[in-house]
């Protein structure tokens, strides 16, 4: 297999937010921080769709916002090809305007992402005019092409966003994101607010655009059944840390991180469960990101964890079957398996 063509590279990224404190803490000088993204290194390959999964509070959106340049990281670096986009405490390289032509974001709620006082045509012409790509007359033709790209008829330009249904609105949001021909598209839960019957249309569209325009896509979601359909690789985040990074097929086919498995088991199945079949749940909730425990962040909910897991943070290690996982148990199991295979071949 040839080496992957790395498009965006995130290196040891950390993003902290100060906790609003009361008077007592301020007087005593107590400082607390929310560790939203806590040392994540991750590559986005050119033309792939990387799914970022995890519960609310796992740092998915913060990571995406750092890549989009809406947040300045506290530590670490972000590279796009050979241009540094951000380093500790500063956005570097391109101006905000140039950055918008490289990375674009699609948000969860298409209704609040669109200005309801503007016709769709004006919404879509805005990027061209702001970036002085063309004049107003020329923009009209470009808007029509954009609408066609996302499968909307040209008349849509005359409508207001509230006259469209949720799926059409999300198409308009996608069209706007594509206006500047970005190279990287970040889709933050783009179907969470849509009905099941409409989710498929948007997923098909994102996949089709990725292939046709050779976009690199970061797809944020908490629904693993969607991941299975659309992603090429899966990155699992928990408490701002990367727990597992895996090819999609391997992710659904192998014994991954205990947290990934818990997420998988919690995902509702499309079938009638046996009469008294228990749902497989994991106990507890994601802990507070303010006092992150020293060891494995998942330990408090892990069915397999023991005292050793609480001492040091498990490093992200390559698995024998491919992919990376941050778990002492999985690393030990892999080691035992390779040892076993090695002894076996000797005998």
């Amino acid at each position: 297999m040839s080496a992957p063509d790395i498009h965006v590279s995130v290196k040891e990224l950390r993003m902290l937010f100060p906790v609003k404190r009361g008077l007592r803490d301020r007087v005593l000088g107590v400082k607390q921080w929310v560790h939203a993204v806590d040392g994540v290194s991750l590559d986005l390959h050119r033309g792939e769709c990387l799914a970022l999964v995890g519960e609310s509070g796992s740092g998915k959106t913060t990571l995406a916002n750092c890549i989009a340049g809406s947040l300045v990281p506290v530590a670490g670096e972000i590279w796009l090809d050979d241009v540094m986009l951000a380093r500790a405490g500063a956005l570097t390289g391109p101006s905000a305007r140039e950055r918008a032509r490289l990375v674009q974001v699609i948000f969860q709620d298409p209704t609040s992402a669109l200005n309801r006082r503007l016709r769709v045509g004006s919404v879509l012409a805005e990027p061209f005019l702001v970036h002085k790509i063309c004049n107003r007359a020329e923009a009209t033709a470009r808007v029509e092409a954009l609408l066609a790209r996302v499968g909307l008829p040209p008349e849509t330009a005359e409508h207001y966003s509230h006259e469209l249904n949720a799926s059409q609105r999300q198409r308009v949001v996608i069209a706007r994101a594509l206006a500047l021909e970005p190279r990287v598209l970040i889709a933050d839960e783009p179907i969470a607010k849509l009905d099941v019957s409409m989710q498929g249309q948007i997923l098909n569209l994102i996949d089709q655009l990725r292939r046709e325009l050779d976009l690199s896509v970061i797809f944020i979601t908490h629904d693993l059944s969607v991941v299975r359909q659309i992603a090429t690789r899966v990155a699992v985040l928990y408490l701002g840390q990367l727990m597992e990074l895996q090819e999609t097929e391997a992710f659904f086919g192998s014994e991954g991180h205990p947290y990934s498995q818990a997420l998988l088991r919690s995902t509702p199945r499309l079938r009638v469960t046996a009469e008294d079949g228990e749902l497989h749940t994991i106990k507890g909730e994601i802990p507070s990101p303010i006092d992150v425990p020293p060891g494995c962040p998942f330990l408090s909910r892990c069915p397999e964890g023991d005292d050793d897991c609480g001492r040091t943070r498990p490093p992200l290690q390559a698995r024998s079957a491919g992919g990376l996982v941050a778990c002492f148990k999985r690393a030990a199991a892999d080691l035992a398996a390779t040892d076993g295979a090695a002894t076996g071949s000797h005998g």
Partner: protein, 336 residues
Amino acid sequence: MSDPLLNVEGLTTVYRVGGREFAALNDVSLTCQAGERLGVVGESGSGKSVLALSLLNIIRAPGRITAGRVVFADQDILHLRRRELRRVRGGGMSLIFQDAAASLTPVYPVGVQLGEIIRTHLSVTRAEAARQSVQLLGQVGIPEPERRLRAFPSELSGGMKQRVAIAMALASEPSLLIADDPTSAVDVTIQAQILELLRHLVDERQLALIYISHDFRVVSTICERLLILYAGGIVEQGDAPSVFNAPRHPYTDALLACSPSVEEYRFPFATLPGNPPNPRDDPIVGCQFHPRCPRALDVCARETPHEESPTAGHSYRCWSPLDAPGRGSSAAASAP
């Protein structure tokens, strides 16, 4: 069979939209036995929330119930006096809303809010109410319930708030629990916990449960009987395995084909073309689904289909149903 706990006949709820009347709920009939778990599946605008509100007779203007009967525990809900109705609402019948935060007031600790419900419905002392509150919070899986009684809703996570809302719904010892998509705003892990909790509580207390959701997958994990709602009307209902494995109505089939699955790769996604009927447009004559239906016949645009029930425990309203054994041809067309 004994009388059902809830018997709804021909329930019709109408809203005034843009100068004309629109039936958000159209001639809905259903029954729910004590201890039964009934699932209602529908898209936004299908009338599923209006159904929940109509069962409790809390429809507000511009809506009103124009026809039908709702009989709950031998009481005619639509003709009760206000005082009797208040005993039923939140008493015999409780509702869990989609947005748990909205059913809690932010200005009182949860203990006060729980205690108030217990004392309203069960006439017990303050101390006894406090004791029951602790017990309830424990039952819905909240750790350290004594401490949590003093917590304000803002100090709880989304999952915890939903648990408190469930505790509040149970406080009056109802016999029917109506859950209106209570997990649409929480993570999958918390969703699984809440579904498991509801199933456990319903079993333990022999409650009837009406679980309303847009997600076929969620409903199918918890309910024994399913009811599919489209444009205010029931298009299909029956035992969960039967509806699930052999849907007869093309809409049910399309909805199933659209639902993403963790178990198989089924890209590109099946999609359902078109939109549900818009209240502002002219009413659709005949089957409400026919403009989007891949199996539509001429008759579908003329006459409303009757309820057909060829097998016990499974009925549908369709002029052109799918074949009975196994899954027929998929109703959903692929996207262009």
